[in-house]
Amino acid sequence: MSDNPAGLTEERTTYLNGLVGQARTAAAAFSQCTQEDVDRIVKPMVIAGLEAAQDLARLAIEETKIGVLEDKAIKNMVATEFVYNYVRDKRTVGVIREDTERGILELAEPIGVILSLTPITNPTSTVLFKCIMAIKTRNAVIFSPHPAAWRCCAEAVRIMYETAVKHGAPEGVFTCLESHTLHDNDFLMHHKDVGLIDATGGPGVVKAAYGSGKPALGVGPGNTPVYLEKSADLDMAVVDIITSKTFDNGTICASEQTIVIDDEIYDRVLQKFADLGSHICSPQETELLSCTVIDPATGFMQPMAVGQKATTIARFVGISVKPKTKLLIAPIQGIGRKYPLSVEKLFPVLAVYRAKSVDEALKVCVDVNHAGGLGHTAVVFSNNEDVIRRFADVINAGRIIVNSPGSIGALGGVYNDMVPTFSFGCGTGGGNSTTDNVNVYHYLNIKRMARRTQAHMWFRVPNQIYFNMNAVENLRNFASRSTLIITNPGLEQLGHADIVRRAIPAGTQVRVTIIPDAEPDLKIIAQGVEALNFYKADQIIALGGGSVIDAAKIMKLKYESPDADLAELAAPFLDIRKRVVQYPTEKVNHARLIAISTTSGTGSEVTPFAVMTDKARGIKVTLADYSLTPDVAIVDPQFVMSMPKTLTVDTGIDCLTHALEAAVSIYASPYTDSNAMQAIRLVFKYLPEVYDNPGDEEARSMMHNAACIAAIAFSNASVGVNHAMAHAFGARFGVSHGRANALMLPHVIAYNAGVPTKFMPSPNQRTYIAHKKYAMIADLLGLGGHTVEEKVANLVSATEQLLDRLQVPRSIAALGISKEQFELAMPDLAKVAFDDPSWRSNPRMPLVKELIELYWMAFRGRGSGETAAAVEPPIATEEALV
């Protein structure tokens, strides 16, 4: 039972509650019907409505004294036949749409009980329309007709109800309130079992519906501006406007209200109106009309004029017109309260305005639109597409009707392919929730069933990779007119640039640009781009470690796309496929980038990343896009044979971290796994050998390959929390990247192998598998162990042993950083690490608290009892890796 805020009698409350209860029961039973069931009911209802169209029109005219019999009959036919034509094949039960590609299924859920308020102007047609919609969607409706149209509406409801029940609809599916008051409506609008209010009527009704707090379709008044532009087919326009404005004596709220006519055609148009039976009012007649049919107190139309003939209105006002006058046309000079006829007039009186230009005409149309017609309907007659588009652009109307009658055009299905309706949504401008022509889909809750879809994955690498000793000789295969070698001073001194120069085919103009051995800044980039432009280079060879190759990538980007905004391109992103910024695809020079790596760590020769320093802003800028990937990579160990021991270790550990993180990344795939696993195997085998014997060619070659292969893996699977922490820590305390990685690595393996506090959303992984991946790596390395837990512990131990063997500092404290210093830095460290995008592909989402714990473990290092197996136990499982 609903509360009784309206102060109704108990008897009345019981009656109203009974109506709702009956509708609720009917709706509940109706929910079991199938699509075939409802379609079987709808068709005979439509036929019954068509057969009763004229009788219902006559009843409406007799009761309301509004409109034209023939037009009301036509409206009843449109409300049945045209609406049926639209809904007949629409699915409204069960699955209504399926998008197999996106894995989305839409299912219909009925609303239940709908309270429907219907107007005096289109009483029976609105009832017929809403009955068909309700049955098609398995809803029950309580009708509350305008009191002055109750009898005809009740009859329309009776015809629809009896036909529906006869063909299988549940009893009680439609009811019509007996003579009622606003209190009844108020009570029903607030009733807990009413699911939706569909209010078609005046502003009061619509406002009450929306004010009830219930979901509502409130469709109210309009004020349709019409722009009659000089290029229009004038004969057609005049006939269309007369047809529309006289249809049912102008009672359709989408009908034309003010015609704005271009100056050049104004007189001709008025003459055409007059020739076809319209009366053009003199200034005095316009004045008389204004103060009679518009209420001077409210500025709204007088109800007594609604739906009356032009001759009746003329007689009432005291204007002498010919006996068969169809329309009264009143010239006005402006819009607003000073010009009363510029408002909505639901009778055959049209205001006309003479506009001196297109701009003025459009402004006046906007004024009419804003004088009570926002969101409703507007009409333009023109053959100038630019004018039509401008009109559509400035007018706020749910229906913009082009070169056709406003009222019949807005109803849909006659002059255009809009959805047939008797309820025009007016959007927020009209205080409505929709701008649509209200239709069956507004009578449904549409449920969307979304199946899990796998994100599309990729595996991108440079077009060509040459490896093994003397791979640089392959440069002979690349024809070039002008080549620029970018390298650093140390490599130039070692003679590496000369080795490269000698491998370039004869006849190529070769220049060398030396840049500092540090992360490039904007100045270095600009100088490089200047050199590329100066030499008109068609080939760029980057010879160096990560910083040189990264510099070359950015130089090439700016060389090919001079307008590229590096700061904008560095904007953060969560998913590279959905990122906000797009890298330029147009290229000016089509130069080839060949990367020759001289370290065995970053793998920049195959990655889509480039890091630079923005000194002005004091920040590092990371660019990431596959368009940055070099075209050709040369992995020639001769360039790393003389690499210092410390650099060998640091870059080797960086390589291992890349591979380990790529292996457990949420973007890992069989393609990246194969590379990551192989890189891990190579590092464990060859890094100690290179460490012991730096001149071992085979070991050097394998470590050089390992770095490239690990980079291929992380280019496509990304890295994880280890890198995020190492970036923050390395930057804060000036520790090399490889060394910083080493400090975190055993702790992060143990951390990722544990039960996550928070799982990382990852549609491509069916379950958490990081621990199993680690176990798989342990198996690959032959570390032994019977359970996943044992294997993970063995991997952590093996990693620690490797780091020990390489004599890498094993705790942050061992670097000489005091506890106090570290404690002081911690809030910032944790914040910067959490802001680092690297962890976004980590299998486990790190909490800031967890990052702090991991940092402290790294600070204390081994022996504290907190590393490796002491961290949360791994998820024990015997399941095979999937």
């Binding site: 509940a28 039973a29 929910s31 549940p170 009893e171």
Partner: protein, 91 residues
């Protein structure tokens, strides 16, 4: 539970059995009434109204009504008709 307080609701014409249950309650039935809905695949407004009346009568006379074996589709209809809170359900 004895056979005397358990009614198998007619799947074809559920309102008939439900009216019978109401009569039993009115006649002074005492205890727990079990309505076996396992044959009911569809429930029409008549049967829903009978259930509403039954719920009202059961509440008045403090008879506990248990609905057994109701399928999920019919259960949802009872939910929409706001009847589930007035009965208890067993499988």
């Amino acid at each position: 539970m004895t056979a005397s307080n358990c009614l198998l609701v007619d799947g074809e014409c559920p309102d008939k059995t439900l009216r019978e249950a109401i009569e039993r309650i009115i006649a002074g039935f005492d205890g727990e009434l079990v309505l076996n809905f396992s044959d009911v695949q569809y429930i029409d407004p008549k049967a829903l109204r009978a259930l509403e009346d039954l719920a009202e009568e059961a509440e008045r006379t403090q008879v506990a009504v248990v609905v057994r074996g109701v399928n999920v589709k019919v259960y949802k209809v009872l939910k929409l008709a706001r009847l589930t809170s007035q009965f208890s359900f067993i499988n």
